[in-house]
């Protein structure tokens, strides 16, 4: 680590948390100017995160040197709260910044009512701050707190339109979330009771395969599965998305759910790593396959654009679960999983933004009646298609690289002699086809011969941001090596 980095990195980490919080507080305190604060804040946070990542990468290539822990207030663990930055959290911070910035820009056009603006921006900025803190937290209890911050602001955003459907969806989302949080908290409590510390790194050094750890692992994993909408605990996702505003859906599917998954991954890579058994891997993998099939089938059934996309999230998260048994064979596969999650988040967010544009133009998102608008808005359809291609895992997109690496890992397990590995390979390969089928459902009406009607006018932000983000998702393939190298800067991980 160069001296400059040594000096700057901790400050930059703490600064990021502070910046996100300040922006959120400012927007809350000054609702009239919330959108201006929000825009400036979004730009500032993004710039900050990018700067941070530059510092971080510069500190490499030794993972131990790059990963940084910051003791808040100078209180070291086990007593104090630790902020923790490593390759994994850095990657997700950057992802959050990119999706966050795009969402913010999109919201400039999407949320234009003055009163709504006052409500939307503070909530959204809190959500963002919560996510940033979530990724930086190195302490189990603090993770719970940040999870709650994220959940509550997300629920509020889902309920944002104030209609019965939206509120009902929000209530369901909230109840499920609290259930998940409590379950998670119970696990934290058990761990704390066993080891007397909350810091993840300290826990990691102390855990062994004991019954308490097992119980804690079960509680925390199940709770997070609920929050991450992993099959079969996904049912809150579609209704919540169905009525949420488009940028909220984008963030929800792109970031919030990914945040919960991040926690699962982090826990199983660290604290719970000694507990993992092949049977566990197979169970999770099976759930993943089921999620892939079920989510895709539901996406093929659903009649509304946003429902389709929401179910697609359920399906795509199946890949992440399928990756668990792969990680048991090839521990290095976790980086692939994260890369996949990153690419998925980018693509999914742009699909939701594009869907939002279409919904806005048409006044509804019933697929059956959307043809006219789809035909009249090739740019948005292109964004939808481009991001969709990434979801399918076809070249030249990031999705392809992710799929390639997943498949490579899967075939690696097969070649290593795992029979069940064939199932994982089939799922990874076949999932793309199902994805293609439901994405085709969304895009195909644009090619039907028929009437054109651009519908309601949309602001240029809503026109171009989905396309921009979809392009980013597509070009993420070029960042594959960079992402994987960044992820390699995670100490302790294989």
């Amino acid at each position: 680590m160069t001296p400059a980095n040594a000096e700057w990195l901790p400050a930059a980490i703490a600064g990021l948390v502070a910046l996100s919080l300040v922006v959120a507080v400012l927007a809350t305190a000054w609702p009239r100017q919330a959108h201006r604060v929000g825009l400036l804040g979004a730009l500032a946070i993004t710039a900050w995160v990018l700067g941070l990542s530059a510092l971080f990468l510069n500190a490499g290539p030794d993972p131990e040197a790059a990963a940084t822990r910051v003791a808040l207030g100078g209180w070291e663990a086990p007593l104090g709260l630790m902020l923790h930055l490593d390759g994994l959290s850095m990657t997700l911070l950057v992802l959050t910044a990119v999706v966050g910035l795009a969402t913010s820009l999109y919201s400039l056009g999407y949320v234009h009512d003055r009163i709504e603006r006052r409500q939307f921006w503070p909530l959204w900025l809190w959500l963002w701050a919560g996510l940033n803190m979530l990724f930086l937290s190195g302490d189990a209890f603090n993770l719970y707190i940040t999870l709650e911050v994220v959940s509550l602001s997300a629920v509020a955003l889902v309920a944002f339109t104030g209609t019965a459907a939206a509120v009902s969806g929000a209530v369901r989302y909230l109840l499920v979330n609290i259930l998940g949080s409590l379950s998670f908290l119970m696990g934290v409590v058990l761990l704390f009771g066993e080891h007397g510390v909350l810091d993840l790194l300290l826990l990691e050094t102390r855990t062994e395969a004991g019954p308490t750890e097992r119980m804690a692992a079960v509680l925390m994993t199940a709770g997070l599965m609920l929050k991450a909408a992993l099959f079969p605990l996904h049912v809150w996702l579609a209704p919540a998305h169905g009525s949420a505003p488009a940028p909220v859906s984008a963030v929800l599917s792109g970031l919030v759910v990914t945040g919960s998954f991040y926690l699962i991954l982090r826990l199983w890579m660290g604290v719970f790593a000694p507990l993992a058994t092949p049977a566990f891997g197979i169970l999770v993998g099976m759930l993943g396959v089921a999620a892939l099939v079920w989510g895709s089938l539901q996406a093929l059934r659903a009649g509304r654009l946003k429902s389709i996309v929401a179910y697609s999230t359920v399906a795509q998260f199946g890949y992440l679960l399928v990756a668990f048994p792969l990680m048991l064979v090839d521990p290095g596969a976790w980086r692939v999983v994260v890369f996949f999650a990153v690419v998925h988040a980018l693509a999914k967010a742009s699909v939701f933004l594009a869907a939002g544009t279409l919904q806005h133009a048409a006044g509804h998102d019933r697929l059956a009646d959307l043809g006219d608008v789809l035909r009249a808005r090739p740019r948005t359809v292109f964004a939808l298609g481009l991001a969709g291609v990434s979801l399918m895992g076809l070249p030249f997109t990031g999705g392809f690289i992710a799929k390639y690496l997943l498949l490579e890992a899967g075939l690696g397990t097969v070649l290593a002699g795992s029979v069940i590995g064939v199932l994982w390979v089939l799922a990874i390969a076949g999932g793309g086809l199902l994805a293609a089928a439901y994405i085709l459902r969304m895009v195909a009406p644009a090619f039907h011969r028929g009437h054109e009607d651009a519908g309601e006018a949309v602001s240029p932000w809503m026109d171009w941001v989905p396309l921009g983000l979809a392009t980013v998702a597509a070009l993420a393939g070029l960042a594959g090596t960079l992402t994987l190298n960044t992820l390699a800067l995670t100490p302790g991980a294989p």
Binding site: D113, I145, L152, A156, A164, V167, S168, S181, F192, S307
Partner: protein, 140 residues
């Protein structure tokens, strides 16, 4: 009998009694969350679950020799704060939902195809209710 009494005494010791009670509360709360349709009851159930968690935490804090772990108590306090705010938020949502639909129950879930669609970006607000709750979700 002696054994039983000893076991009881051991069980009643805060180190084990609290966690056990906490676990039972957690399970009860979960049951309530599942079985009750009225949303206020559900929120109460969640609170019961939360109480369970905190009892476990406190029990954990009391375990071992010496004075209870202050960290655990601090955590409990923080947890209660979070739980209170979440509950308040939840209740606010329920109140809003009740105003909209006349019932403190959730709308049915995913049959999304005919659900009403709102688009805030068009600036149209319809505060007057969505479809009535289905039988399935009506309080029993």
């Amino acid at each position: 009998m002696n054994g039983l009494a000893e076991t009881l005494a051991h069980t009643l010791a805060p180190g084990l009694l609290y966690p056990t009670a906490g676990a039972i509360l957690f399970a009860l709360g979960l049951y309530g969350l599942i079985r009750r349709h009225h949303l206020v009851l559900r929120i109460l159930a969640l609170n019961i679950m939360g109480s369970g968690v905190f009892m476990v935490l406190l029990g954990v804090a009391a375990r071992g020799e010496g004075p209870p772990d202050p960290v655990a108590q601090a955590l409990t306090l923080t947890g209660i704060v979070v739980a209170v705010s979440a509950t308040a938020f939840a209740l606010a949502l329920v109140v809003h939902l009740t105003r909209l639909t006349g019932h403190a129950v959730m709308l049915p879930g995913p049959p999304d195809d005919d659900a009403p669609v709102e688009d805030i970006s068009r600036g149209e607000h319809h505060a007057d209710g969505g479809p009535a709750a289905s039988d399935e979700d009506r309080p029993s």
